[in-house]
């Protein structure tokens, strides 16, 4: 059984690497675009509303902890990608990797949107709006679109090399 597991072509290693890279880089898109450039969606903005310099700096600190977390996810993705490249039975496809990254990005937004916005309520996409739900809903819908696009790419037949670049 062990031999069959080793020699059988596997999608898992590359898909998982792409998934973690997508989660990590998706987190950075969230942090850079929303938190820093647009100055919305800060980590604890529902608990500590951004009303003055002190509250802005408190949210900035928590944004930093969030960035540290997604940095770890990205590092894990790079390590998994390296490992996938060294395994001979890994199916090697750029389309599959980019699909997994898109899926990971969408999955990150979905999980973050459900847990942080809906369940815990620690922040919302647009804290300054009177009705926050439409923005939160748009965030969840966009995450589903990203996941669907990623899934389609993962399943799409490609012309890439069937196995990892490492030759026996």
């Amino acid at each position: 059984m062990r031999d069959s597991l080793i020699s059988k072509p596997r999608r898992g290693p590359l898909v998982t690497a792409g998934l973690f890279l997508g989660i990590g880089l998706g987190g950075f898109v969230d942090g850079i675009l929303f938190h820093q450039i647009l100055q919305i969606h800060n980590m604890l903005s529902a608990r500590i509303p951004v009303a003055d310099l002190v509250s802005a700096k408190i949210n900035m600190t928590w944004d930093g902890y969030f960035h540290a977390g997604v940095w770890v996810m990205t590092l894990l993705g790079v390590w998994l990608l390296f490992r996938a490249g060294t395994q001979r039975n890994t199916i090697w496809s750029g389309k599959m990797l980019s699909g997994a990254m898109l899926f990971g990005w969408g999955l990150f937004n979905l999980v973050e949107g459900l847990i942080d916005h809906q369940i815990l309520g620690i922040h919302h996409v647009m804290e300054y709006a009177i009705n926050k739900f439409p923005y939160d809903l748009a965030f969840l819908i966009s995450s589903l679109i990203l996941m669907l696009a990623g899934w389609a790419l993962i399943r799409a037949p490609g012309r890439d090399s069937p196995y990892s670049p490492v030759q026996p």
């Binding site: 059984m1 059988k8 898992g12 998982t16 989660i23 002190v54 620690i122």
Partner: protein, 86 residues
């Protein structure tokens, strides 16, 4: 054109003082004033609960990632176990 070294030094000192005055604006002082407040509120009694709340989505995603990584192995093992039972 004057080459008096004192005049050159005075001009340079005036420029440096101007730059130093820019650094000492109220905006820069504000950080010294609020730093202790920020640290006290971030690393206060709510620190652990805030950190847990913040890291929860990443923990869930990590578990999902581990399941995806091992799903082929788990499915193969389940399939083989079923075949052995039959």
């Amino acid at each position: 054109m004057t080459n008096c070294p004192m005049a050159t030094m005075d001009s340079m000192a005036a420029r440096l003082l101007g730059l130093a005055a820019l650094l000492a604006s109220p905006g820069a002082w504000a950080c010294f004033d609020c730093r202790k407040l920020v640290e006290a509120r971030v690393y206060g009694p709510d620190f652990a609960s805030n950190l847990l709340a913040l890291l929860m989505p990443l923990a869930v995603l990590g578990v999902l990632g581990v399941l995806v990584y091992f799903h082929e192995t788990i499915l193969d093992r389940l399939k083989n176990a079923r075949q052995l039972d039959q």
